[in-house]
Symmetry: C2
Subunit: 491 residues, 2 copies
């Protein structure tokens, strides 16, 4: 298999698009903006889902399912929310087709017009809070900690596989609390859960922070986020967790009786990550040879490729490999022995490199004689010969080492690409020359933020949670500032 992958240094964007296609992750469909997630890409998403779902359940959340459609009027109940979401959306207006009178096919039946249009959910706050009104009466019903795995639709004009698609898959948590502090703690907790998942499973380092007012979720009082840096220095928002205050409780009249019998509006959060994480995963680790996957999310962790002439050699290799495959599986390691006779070893090596399989074993006649395997790791592209006797332990350690190395490498890249600047000249220069995140003082106004974005295309990615209080002046306006925020061009 020849890869013919554009180099990242030549055209990063083209490299990404080609990689997504060639590694069999996803493709565009016949429906504008909607993607097909192919089996190999979906297998990675399933691993993400499984890890996240476990973390959500460990923090006390339960899954449920709410309708795909939301009546148009629900959106109008929360003022900022309707502006943020109800505008670019898929609208269901009819519920029937009929045969065209001229025999040309099927057409919309004008008799079957809905009284009220239905919006295909772009996010589910409104339908869920309409439901919570029935579920919440007393403080005993709180906290209500619910998550939903679902598809959502936002009518994006410019789409890109995984990064921005009209339909995407995600999870959305929606929780209700008796007090403001509890809801804030929940929103923060879920940001932490996302950060842990990104760093420990995806091997993607993230910066935890707060969004500025203009970047906040429509309807939120505060948006917590995790921001990752891609290999081209651009930022990718990898997950958000919103403190919604009492906005939705008031819009949908959700109150509870406190222990003292007083009726009060409840406090809310919502939080989500999506198939966008696939884009972050791909762009953080992969190289000019193809995908590089962290072992914890790799559908195939180890592939074994036989190198043989004739069926007898293949049989001898297969016999040797069988107990190894068994032992690896027993250790919870996913392994594939690729004995396809239709493809040569070189083709297979290329294919698994392209698909980012972390560890490749090769075994030929000489290995049989010497009782060894050739072990190659995808992240460093290095090879070594390992005695068969110790190969299982070797692989276990190698998988851990690869997971660790990917994180460390990404962290080092990220940290060397965060640059503190103290003038607007330096700001623009760093952004254009070096790229990455620019750490700068900002006067806290929407106006300055908007002007900088207009002039440089860099937005404020976040106000880091752990930002130190330092006296300084805004790089744009010169007005006083107490902490640095992170600017970057973003996906």
């Amino acid at each position: 298999m020849s890869k013919n992958l554009t180099k990242r240094s030549e055209d990063y964007s083209k490299w990404y698009n080609e990689l997504v296609a060639k590694a069999d992750l996803a493709e565009n469909s016949g429906v504008r903006g909607c993607m097909v997630i192919k089996p190999y890409g979906y297998a990675i998403w399933e691993k993400m889902q499984a890890a996240l779902d476990t973390m959500f359940k460990e923090t006390g959340h339960e899954n449920a399912y709410f309708p795909l459609f939301i009546p148009k009027s629900y959106f109008s109940k929360e003022a900022s929310h309707v502006d943020g979401f109800a505008k670019e959306c898929a609208v269901v207006t009819h519920y029937r087709l009929k045969n065209a009178e001229d025999g040309s096919g099927v057409v919309v039946d004008p008799e079957a017009k809905l009284e009220e249009e239905l919006i295909v959910r772009p996010t589910s706050e409104t339908i869920i809070w309409d439901t919570y009104r029935k579920w919440i009466q007393s403080y005993r019903d709180l906290p209500l900690l619910i998550n939903q795995w679902a598809n959502v639709v936002r009518w994006e004009m410019r789409t890109r596989l995984f990064l921005r698609t009209a339909e995407f898959l995600w999870q959305e948590g929606h929780t209700a609390h008796a007090t403001e502090n509890e809801a804030i703690a929940e929103a923060k907790q879920m940001m932490e859960v996302y950060a842990t998942f990104a760093e420990q499973h995806m091997a993607v380092p993230v910066i935890k922070g707060l969004k500025t007012e203009s970047e906040r979720f429509a309807g939120a009082l505060e948006t917590y986020c995790i921001e990752a840096m891609m290999q081209d220095g651009k930022a990718l928002q990898a997950g958000t967790s919103h403190f919604l205050g009492q906005n939705f409780a008031k819009a949908f009249d959700v109150t509870y009786a406190s222990k003292e019998g007083k009726q009060q509006h409840v406090w809310a959060t919502s939080w989500g990550v999506s198939t966008r994480l696939m884009g972050a995963l791909i762009m953080t680790h992969s190289d000019d040879n193809g995908l590089v996957l962290p072992p914890k999310l790799a559908p195939i962790q180890v592939v074994i490729v036989p190198i043989y002439k004739g069926i007898e050699q293949l049989d001898a290799i297969a016999e040797k490999v069988a107990p190894l495959v068994k032992e690896l599986r027993a250790a919870g390691i996913s392994v594939k022995f690729d004995q396809r006779d239709t493809h040569k070893p070189g083709f297979k090596f290329n294919e698994y490199e392209l698909k980012g399989v972390p560890v490749r074993l090769a075994i030929g006649q000489r290995d049989l004689e010497n009782d060894t395997y050739e072990v190659a790791r995808r992240d460093t592209l290095t090879k070594e010969t390992v005695a068969a006797a110790g190969v299982v332990d070797h692989i276990k350690q190698l998988l851990e080492a690869i997971q660790e190395n990917l994180y460390t490498k990404a962290l080092s890249y990220r940290d060397t690409h965060i640059t503190e600047v103290d003038s607007y000249e330096a700001f623009k220069e760093v952004l254009e020359q070096k790229g990455g995140f620019v750490s700068a003082h900002w006067d806290g106004t929407i106006e300055t933020e908007a002007k900088i974005k207009e002039e440089t295309k860099a937005s404020i990615r976040c106000i880091p949670i752990d930002a130190k209080e330092t006296v300084g002046s805004c790089v744009y306006s010169g007005k006083p500032s107490t902490k640095r925020v992170l600017f970057a061009k973003a996906y």
Copy 2:
């Protein structure tokens, strides 16, 4: 908690609706025909999904994801399919809302009309086969064995929670094969997988069979099905697996080059089960006290209720129970220790009975003194006192015994409600008086089938796979027949 559940003998339909609501399984939403699946109901569905997904993967299938929307023209490509599905469906005609000029809220933006309407998928054959055209070139690409977990929408006029809803959750398998025989074998295999799942996990006995022409899936050459009998004697189609011939391959021009280099159309199957299985599960086992769940699908398999006066007794019980909970969890048994102080034991007993928890342990002061537990089983409502030392083994055996007993009980009910008849008089009498399935000779014509359905409301549920060849004459027309088929009123 007082149950106030209508008795099955009084009004089976009302009993079902009340049970679904009171056991916190699902409820109607503000969107006509769309349900909210509540956390407890969704937890059961998740267990079904996990078991089925494992079985699909064991039989070589991979998951993928295809678009929610299908362009209208795709439906017209397969003639019978468009009649079966494209008529009652949700149609997306616009992609934007805007503020109404009179300030009354948001309205559909007439400028944002789609050139071609999009149908919210009622089933995905058309969009998937449009994709398969790109994926299949050579015999090396076959078989293609793919499954999708998704939501689908069919605009049903009369809806009922789980049994018939506008939006429902399901899985749909779509496979492509080089030969007719291989595709037929796949369709049969998936019917067997569904039967195994229904019987071994849901404890629901099913009859495997073929649908008659008029009950077949729109676009299929043959539909294999599993049919279950509910406690009111009505049939419920629990899963279907379709041999689609080359219909979709021809409609979407999907061909492959054989080993000999000849271009041929591929052969197809599709197969699905849905949240309708929740209805089957509820109606097969539950009783006038509430839900009865087979242990393999119960979100909580064992609940422990402390019976105490004052905090000291509760503490003593909690201390006693802690290692038991740990030991049960280590054995893979899901257990809940309900030490809520806000509810009395009697309330809790009722609640867990209503929710169908298979095994309930109670422990009070006397049990503490005697080192025992009171163990109650939900299926038989019997109780016994068990020594603490042997309680884990006792529970393990009990869970297996309950799983087995539910199946045996349902099987016995089903088998005593299949009645062979040889005249139309007897046919009608059995249907009206005894109910259940009627096994009768049928002349094989659509006309007879339609007349019987019109006159009795009974449809042919299936031609059982294992139906013996017997000489007979059709109960309706008197014409010759070689095997009996099963008639019943159905959900």
